[in-house]
Symmetry: D2
Subunit: 105 residues, 4 copies
Amino acid sequence: MKVIVDLCIVPLGVGVSLSTYIAACERVLAEAGLETRLHANGTNIEGEWEDVFAAIERCHEAVHEMGAPRISTTIKLGTRTDRNQSLDDKVRSVEEKLRGVDAKP
Amino acid sequence: MKVIVDLCIVPLGVGVSLSTYIAACERVLAEAGLETRLHANGTNIEGEWEDVFAAIERCHEAVHEMGAPRISTTIKLGTRTDRNQSLDDKVRSVEEKLRGVDAKP
Amino acid sequence: MKVIVDLCIVPLGVGVSLSTYIAACERVLAEAGLETRLHANGTNIEGEWEDVFAAIERCHEAVHEMGAPRISTTIKLGTRTDRNQSLDDKVRSVEEKLRGVDAKP
Amino acid sequence: MKVIVDLCIVPLGVGVSLSTYIAACERVLAEAGLETRLHANGTNIEGEWEDVFAAIERCHEAVHEMGAPRISTTIKLGTRTDRNQSLDDKVRSVEEKLRGVDAKP
């Protein structure tokens, strides 16, 4: 099953500067061959369910190995059976509506 | 790796009454042998990473089979290496603070 | 507008034991006169939009005053115009489906 | 208090094509003069607490007026007292780590 995921990993017990940990997760996701888009509050990911969640588990393992004793993560996750939709399709779909383009919703 | 998860599954394209779908997911989680607590905005789950995410995938499959063409799910997910903590420990810990009990935080 | 909210406040930069901060937020919500239910991954809240979000802002202020330099919060939030539904209605609705009761969904 | 927010609004009871509703929310946020970045799973917003949550309430009102009887929204929300950080700072901070730049974390 294909999933579109928004991943936000928050390491606890390592102070307030988290970008080193987020960068490590970006590398884990890239090594997994997943399509990703970094944004200010997380990372959008596109892939097969098993691949995506196995990669997220490796992110948790990596962040714990870097010294974080606790991690609090938020995931938004979409699946659909009616059509195939990519990360870029989702953004384009809203942008077309904003420009008044009469496109497939 | 043990995880504590909060799962909120929102089927789309099936109207506004979602409790039948949520109940189906509760059954999937129970069949998986996972510890769960239903609350007003989701279900708390305790278990091993692979078991929990395999069960959540089966929830998505079940809800799609019931006729929902699209699902939007939110997951909060915690892991920790410093101590073992159950769903009930987490609630108890806050309740003790509220009662002024001088307990392990 | 009435809202049903699930609030999960995660203070950063104060170590891994968060229950003291969560208990402080519970007190802020109680002082605001809001209906709440604590669970293992957050607190369910029922109330008017302005009251709820003003109280959540006071939670952030309280947690910053307790010494947390950064806070990462996740909120799930539901509004509906078709019917009035309480926190307890939401749980009861799923539980009735699980018991096979033929109730209003 | 300044907040960084990630907003994901999911209208229920209006089928599976949601981009028209999301575009309407984008217009509400723009009219409120808020800094925003659309991404595949939501919209990042930067602004003062009261302005941001008043605008999100107007998004809910707009989506209900467009015919959605129920809305399920997820918000991630960050505040910090140690430094001022913009949406673009957050992305840049991770990207610098990925490039191996020795920057302020």
